[in-house]
Symmetry: C2
């Protein structure tokens, strides 16, 4: 039954850090260090959130040198559901522009 597969997806989305991560990468790619800066959270904590998103194939990773960039997995079985949800949430772009202002984004991106 499909509902049994959908529920764990929603569960993964039911965390403000992960939900914000998804909204941030809705239309672009971000690297781990950006998330660490934005959320003011330890690096392992961010990695573990990314891991959960990756475990259910909602995100993709792509290594560029020493950095790893994450993006929404467009091939996900649940991409329509995720997009429908993200469409209801306010843009989080200002978090990235703040980072850029403070210079933190330039170090890796």
């Amino acid at each position: 039954m499909e509902i049994e597969k959908a529920a764990p997806i929603l569960k993964v989305l039911g965390d403000k850090t992960r939900l914000t991560i998804l909204k941030l990468i809705e239309h672009q790619t971000c690297c781990v260090c950006e998330f660490v800066e934005i959320f003011q959270m330890s690096q392992p904590s961010i990695s573990q959130h990314l891991r959960k998103l990756k475990d259910v194939h909602l995100i993709q990773e792509e290594r560029r040198g020493q950095w790893i960039f994450y993006s929404l997995n467009q091939e996900s079985e649940w991409i329509d559901l995720v997009r429908a949800i993200l469409a209801q949430l306010p843009d989080q772009q200002e978090k990235l522009t703040e980072l850029e202002k403070s210079g933190a984004r330039i170090t890796c991106c």
Copy 2:
């Protein structure tokens, strides 16, 4: 920030029992005993799931004699989000028609 309020809503939805309950009452009203039958789960367990849905105002209750009927709260701040999610899920009507066949639905409804 609205994302901080949306995450707990998704968390509540991230459980197959609660998600199925919502899908069942998407277009109609059901009473507690029906959920108990459908999910083959203890009555307190169902009550506790309903409580979580009610705590975030996603559902409404209406007493009719000794029975309590639950329905989707159309006034919910999150009704669009919930509808967008439910729209992606398969219909669960057959669970109710099965109940009717077995006679279990008639006892209360």
